[in-house]
Structures are given as C-alpha cells and as structure tokens.
Amino acid sequence: MIRTFLRIAVLTFSLSPALTLLAAGSRYLGSTTQQGQEQTVEVKIDNFSFSPATLTIAAGTTVTWINRDDIPHTVVTSDDPKAFKSKALDTDDKFSFAFTKAGTYSYFCSIHPKMTGKVVVQ
C-alpha cells in the first residue's frame, strides 16, 4: 500500500514539470500562428481590458487585436508620433500591426483611456 502510494507520488512529481511545460506550450501555440518566418500573436479585447496586457514578442512579429467585447474599442499607441492607430473596432473586428523595431510600445483605447496595454519587442 505504502509502496504504491510512493510510486504514484514519484511519478506525479517527475511528470509535473513536463505537464506544465506542455500546457504552457499549448497556450503559446494557441495564441500564435507561424508562417515561415512571420509570426502573428493575438491580443483579445474583452470586458474593457486587453489580454494579455503586456506582450513580449520578437521583432518582425505581427500583433492582431480582436475585439470580443460588446462595445467599440480602439488601439492607439501612446507614443508620439503614433506608430499605430486603429479605427473604432466593433465586436469581432480586428486590427493588426507588424512590429519591426525593438522597443516598448505602450498603447490604450482612445474611447476608454484607462484601458492600457504594452508590447515589448525584443
């Protein structure tokens, strides 16, 4: 009985890092698509927030924002001059921008200025 319990404990302990990595990997793959060298990463807009709020990507990656909220939102960079600025996105509308230069890009929704996000390009 004790031996069986120990076997299960050892097996669970040894498998947990692998399972964690697998889960993280599937999440990452779930939000990105790869076509040759180009990558696309999605940011979901829902319930008055950007998800993920902070995104770290490699230079050359295209970020696509999708509005899943039931109210219009925009995606506008805080920097001046503005690197990107979307029109008002209705439900299920998308906006994409390719980040070619390294740096940190803060952005917000111009309709709801307290909605903010950040893209870190490495």
Binding site: N47, P72, A88, D90, I111, H112, K114
Partner: protein
C-alpha cells in the same frame, strides 16, 4: 469606470442643467418670472455650447459611421435616440426662449400657450437626460453580467 474625464464632466454638467431647469420651473410657480427667464436661458444656452463642442464631434466620430448598419445595437441606438430627441428638444427650447424673451418673431409664429409648451419641453428634456445617462452607462460602465 472606464470613462474619459470629459464624459464624466459632461454627465455632471447635464445633471446640473436638468436640476437648474426644475429650479427654473419652481421659480415660475412662485411668480418670479425674471429669475425664471434667466435660469432657463442660461441652462438652455449652456447645453447648446456643450452639445456643439463635445457631443456633436463625439457623435460624428464614434456613432455616425455605424448608422444605419448597427442601429439595432444598444450602443448605437441609445445615442442615436438621445441625439435625435435631444436635437428636437434643444431647438424647441431655443424657440421658446426667442418667442418669450424677444419680439423678433412675427405675430403668427409667437407662442400663445406658454405653460403647455414649457412643461412639455421640461418633461422631454428629462427624458433626453435619462437617455444620455443610459448612453454613458452603455459606453463606459462594464457590467459583470454582460458576458
């Protein structure tokens, strides 16, 4: 709350204007007609400034492009109803101001039943104010039961 500062200020100002119109109506009942005229005139003209400087530009940018395609959605339908009814009420209120406070209108265009017109506009004004508050809630307040 996710509203920009200007939206908060406009909502507060509009509530204040709505209350000022009620005070103005009370002044008329107390037969203080000069004070009544000043109160209602300032309220209607201040509202006109807010409409022209804030509401019309915001409406043109955020709502107008979605009409008529998305008129069925509450975030378009509410501000559209607010704008349409609000425009009629503001113009009617301005007409009453000109008719009651000046003699520029020809005899045929002057108002005779002032009380009826003023009371109808006051009721409609508050209806427009409630539509405006509903528009604010729809655009800027996240409800936990929305999803």
């Amino acid at each position: 709350m996710q509203s920009p500062l200007y939206a908060d200020l406009v909502l507060l100002l509009e509530i204040a204007i709505g209350l000022a119109l009620l005070v103005g109506a009370w002044l008329a009942r107390k037969r203080k007609f000069r004070e009544h005229a000043w109160c209602q005139s300032v309220a209607v003209l201040l509202n006109l400034v807010i409409v022209a400087m804030v509401m019309v530009p915001t409406f043109r940018e955020q709502v107008n492009p979605k009409i008529p395609a998305k008129l069925g959605r509450s975030y378009v339908g509410l501000p559209a109803a607010h704008g349409a009814l609000g425009g009629i009420v503001e113009l009617t209120a301005l007409y009453i101001l000109v008719a009651a406070g000046t003699k520029v209108l020809p005899e045929g265009l002057r108002i005779r039943r002032y009380k009826l017109w003023m009371r109808a506009v006051l009721v409609a004004w508050w209806l427009v104010l409630l539509l405006g508050a509903a528009t604010y809630m729809r655009w800027y307040v996240p409800f936990p039961f929305r999803h």
